[in-house]
C-alpha cells in the first residue's frame, strides 16, 4: 500500500451554529487522483480551505506528509508542497500570464532586496530560472500563445488553466483543484481530464472538487462524498456509484417512478 500524503482526522468546522464540516476523515495516498463531490453547500470548498490553511478547523487534525499542519498559515503550507486553485478564479488580473506564473516560483527562488539592487548572481540565476521554468510550465499547459496577455482579458476556461499553471509552478507534492472544469464545454472538459491524468502519471498527487459526474467518474480513482458537511461515502468510483447514501443525497429517498425500490 502506498504511503498516505494528506490525512484528515475528525475535521469539524463550525461557523456559529452552522456545521459546515463535521467529523470528516479522509486519506489521500501518493499517486491518487482524489475526487471530492457532494451537492451544493455540502462543505467541499470549506474542507479544501481547511486543508490549505485558510481556515483553522474547530476541531480535528490535518496531517500532511505525516506531520500535523493544524494552524499553519497558508504560505507555510504552500512551502511544504501543497498548491491549490480557487473556485472563484483568483488570478492576478492586471498582470500578464507569464508574470502570474512567475509569482508561483516565489518559494523556489531566494532573491532579496539587496540582491535585486546589486543584480548579483543570485538575482540573475533566479530570473533565468523563473523565466525558463515559467515558459516550460506554460508550454506544458498549452498557454504559450497567451504568454503576454493580461489575465483579465482571457476567457473563463483559459483563466482556469492559468491558475493551474500558476499552481504547478510551485512544483507541489499535492495539487488541490477547486472545480477546475466549471464553465468549460465537454470538449474542453475532456481535454482537461486527459491533462490531469497526464499530470498524475508524471508524479503529481491531485485532489479535485467537481460537480461534473462524468468528469469525476472517468478521472478519479478514489472519491469522497460529502453531504451537509458529513462524509457519506469514500471509495472507488464503483463503490460510490452503487452506494445507497450517495444516491439518496443526489436523487432523494423513496420509490423512483417507473422503478422498483
Amino acid at each position: 500500500m502506498k504511503s498516505v500524503l494528506l490525512e484528515a482526522r475528525d475535521i469539524c468546522q463550525y461557523f456559529g451554529g452552522l456545521k459546515a464540516v463535521e467529523k470528516v476523515n479522509m486519506q489521500i495516498r501518493v499517486g491518487d487522483i482524489f475526487g471530492v463531490i457532494g451537492p451544493n453547500g455540502a462543505g467541499k470548498t470549506t474542507f479544501f480551505n481547511i486543508c490549505s490553511g485558510i481556515f483553522k478547523p474547530t476541531s480535528g487534525e490535518i496531517f500532511f506528509r505525516g506531520e500535523s499542519i493544524n494552524g499553519f498559515a497558508p504560505e507555510k503550507i504552500a512551502r511544504l508542497g501543497m498548491a491549490r486553485t480557487f473556485q472563484n478564479i483568483q488570478l492576478f488580473k492586471f498582470m500578464t500570464v507569464l508574470e502570474n506564473v512567475k509569482i508561483g516560483f516565489h518559494i523556489r527562488t531566494k532573491t532579496g532586496m539587496l540582491s535585486a539592487i546589486l543584480r548579483d548572481r543570485q538575482y540573475r540565476e533566479d530570473e533565468r530560472f523563473a523565466n525558463e521554468k515559467g515558459i516550460e510550465v506554460l508550454e506544458r499547459v498549452g498557454l504559450m500563445s497567451f504568454k503576454d496577455t493580461l489575465a483579465s482579458n482571457l476567457p473563463y476556461g483559459i483563466q482556469r488553466k492559468v491558475e493551474i499553471a500558476r499552481a504547478l509552478a510551485l512544483d507541489p507534492k499535492i495539487l488541490l483543484l477547486d472545480e477546475p472544469v466549471a464553465g468549460m464545454n465537454p470538449i474542453e472538459t475532456k481535454a482537461l481530464s486527459d491533462f490531469i491524468i497526464d499530470l498524475n502519471k508524471s508524479g503529481y498527487t491531485i485532489a479535485v472538487i467537481e460537480h461534473d459526474m462524468k468528469f469525476v467518474m472517468n478521472t478519479c480513482n478514489r472519491i469522497l462524498v460529502l453531504n451537509f458537511g458529513q462524509k457519506i461515502c469514500e471509495g472507488t468510483p464503483e463503490t460510490v456509484r452503487n452506494d445507497k447514501g450517495v444516491n439518496e443525497a443526489y436523487f432523494g429517498k423513496g420509490i423512483i417512478a417507473g422503478g422498483n425500490s
Binding site: E75, K93, K110, A116, A167
Partner: protein
Amino acid sequence: MSYADLILRKTPAWLKFALLGGLFLFLLAFPRIYPKSYAMGVMCRILMYTILAGSLNVINGYSGQFNIGHAGFYCVGAYCEAILATRFGITFWIALPLSGIAAACVGLLVSLPTLRLKGIYLAIVTLGSSEIIRLLFLNGNDFTGGPIGIKNIPSPYIGSFKISKSVHFYYIFLFLAAIFFFLTYRIIKSRVGRAWVSIREDELAAKSLGVETSRYKASNFMYGAFWAGIAGAAFAPYFKFISSDMFTLDEGFNILSMVIIGGQGTLIGPIVGSIIVNFLTEFLRPISQYRLVVYALLIIVMMWIRPQGLVGASNSILASGRIRFRGRKKSAGETK
C-alpha cells in the same frame, strides 16, 4: 494597454537608456542654462517631492496598501537630521542614512499592528500615526524645540566646500532622486517587486502561492518610509529651519495628490505628479489660499476621468473601475 504602454514596449532598450541619459545630463546642466535662484528653488521642491511621491507610490501603487500619512515619515527624517546635526554635531553625510533608517524603523512600528488591516481602515491608522508622530515632536520640549522648532540647521560640507545655495541643494536632490529611481526600478523588476504587486492584486492568492504577505507588506512599508526619511533629512539643512507645523496632514495629502494625479503603480507617475502640482503651486500663488480648492477639484476630476492617473497604465488595478463602467454601457446597449 494604453497607447503610452504600446509606445514604451516598442521602444528599443538603447533608445530608452539614451533618452534617460539625455534627460539626466540636461538636468545636470540645467543650473548653467537657467541660473535664476527662484527657478532653482522650484526645482529643488520638485525633486524633493519626486522622492516623497515616489516613495509613497511604492507603498500605495505597488503593494496596494493605502497610506495617507506619509508626512509622518518625512517628519521623522527631517527631525532626526536636525537633531543629530544641531545637538550632536554629526555631519550630514552620516545623519542622512541614519535618518532614513530611523524613518524605516518608525515605518515598521506603524506597519506591524496594521498588517491585517486593508483599505480605508489602514488609511485611518496611517493618518492617525502621522499625526501622533508630529505631536510627539511638537511636545518634545527642549530636545525637539517644541512649538518653536529647530533653527540654524548647519549646512553640509564636502571637504571644505559649504553646501548652502539652492543650486548646491539642487544637485543633492537630483542625485538622491536618481539613486531612488535606480534602486526602486531594480527592486520592482525582481522577485521582491513581483511579491509586492501580487499582494496588491490578490492577497489570498499570493498567500496560497507561498508569498509571506506579512513580511513583504512590512518590508514595503519600511522601504517607502526610508525614502521619505531621506527626503526629510535632505530638506532640513536646505530649509535651515523645521517645525512640526510643516508636517501636518495637509502635507501628507499634498504628497498623495501628486501620486494620484501622476499615476499610481508606475515609476514615472510620481515625477509627472510632482511637476504638475509644484508648477500649479507657483502659478496659483496670486490666488493664495484658494489654490487648495483647485487641488481638490483636480483630484476629483482625475478620479472621474482617469483614475489611473495621467501616465498610469490602463492595466493598473485602479483603471478597473473605468473598464467596468465601459462594459456596463455596452451591455446596456445590447439589451435594447
